[in-house]
Symmetry: C2
Subunit: 204 residues, 2 copies
């Protein structure tokens, strides 16, 4: 029967694929703390980062979050982490909102610097297996933080096994240059364009 032949062919093809894949995977034996960047205009940059934070929480691995911008808004992830997982995941909302909300550049700079000091301390604490620097790219873009200093710290001072995740649009090329893993979230379709507002559980 043709159907059985098709299935058989598929199964053989998949067996071959598995062999090739297993061989590739066997060659991947290294472990290291990664510099991970989520950028682009699409949604999912922070959500995906928090997804990894929750994975760490799930496995009992200490981790930490510093929010550079979004501090003004109560978010589900903040509520859940501070409410139930504060013992394993430190959470610092250091920003007061997007820069066009605050309209005060000198205060924005002060807050970004304070957040960066906190971030460095958390990264240097080897208990933390992952540190998320949420929306730091916004602070870097407006030069509230010096990209050279951030790149230098991640390259020279970050403990070898610690993962650091940096999110936000417009990641600087210098940051992408030193990243181990970088994803560009590209906008294909966005409901704001159709008059839909930010909704609970989706955007916050």
């Amino acid at each position: 029967m043709a159907d059985t032949d098709d299935f058989d062919r598929h199964n053989k093809k998949m067996a071959k694929k598995k062999l090739a894949r297993d061989k590739i995977m066997a060659s991947k034996t290294g472990q290291k703390g990664l510099v991970i960047v989520h950028t682009g205009k699409g949604k999912g940059k922070s959500s995906a980062a928090f997804g990894m934070i929750f994975r760490h929480i799930a496995w009992g691995q200490a981790c930490a979050v510093v929010q550079f911008i979004k501090g003004g808004m109560e978010s589900g992830e903040k509520k859940l982490i501070t409410g139930q997982f504060g013992d394993i995941c430190q959470f610092y909302a250091m920003g007061e909102g997007f820069t066009w909300e605050t309209q005060d550049r000198s205060r924005d700079i002060e807050m970004a610097q304070a957040a960066w000091e906190k971030a460095k301390a958390l990264i240097l604490d080897k208990n933390n297996k992952m540190v998320l620097l949420d929306e730091i790219n916004i602070a870097l873009r407006y030069d509230y933080l010096d990209i050279g200093e951030v790149v230098r710290f991640l390259s020279e001072e970050k403990p070898e096994m610690t993962h650091v995740v940096l999110t936000g649009r417009n990641a600087k090329p210098e940051l992408l240059e030193i990243a181990d893993l970088a994803t560009e979230m590209e906008l294909v379709k966005h409901p704001f364009r159709a008059g839909i507002k930010a909704q609970i559980g989706v955007e916050f």
Copy 2:
């Protein structure tokens, strides 16, 4: 002083930006259940979807997950949700692994169909504010599921206020066509290329 002038200019620019933004946001008043697609070769498709699931959990909104492919592997998100949030988030791992792992097309089809039946029941249950169909795009790509049937169900039978999130590479154009929100996760850099294996908290 030039510095003060610069700061002043920045603050005025930001005030103008806020005005424009507030006006745009005020026009976004609609609420609806969204069809959300995460696709592309980059990382973060499932992580971002689970980020939204955890937001729902945080706000006490019932939700559900059906995994079409990844069932064979223990993941942090599965462990955390089934271990601590089973009362608010139903979790069904219906797949046995990627199709090249199982090498049995007829069983893959059976399992994908069973997962789809479960998915439909969860979506039709209006208690669930969000239902995540994780890696369903793989099942659609190999025609384990009929794309026409999935599109028809989401367009005609999905309750109006329910969010459905569909993840996986190679999303079919028919699905993107009916999506309200779609993000393509584009691979910029991946550590597997540098011999680094899948690591706890990052990939699973």
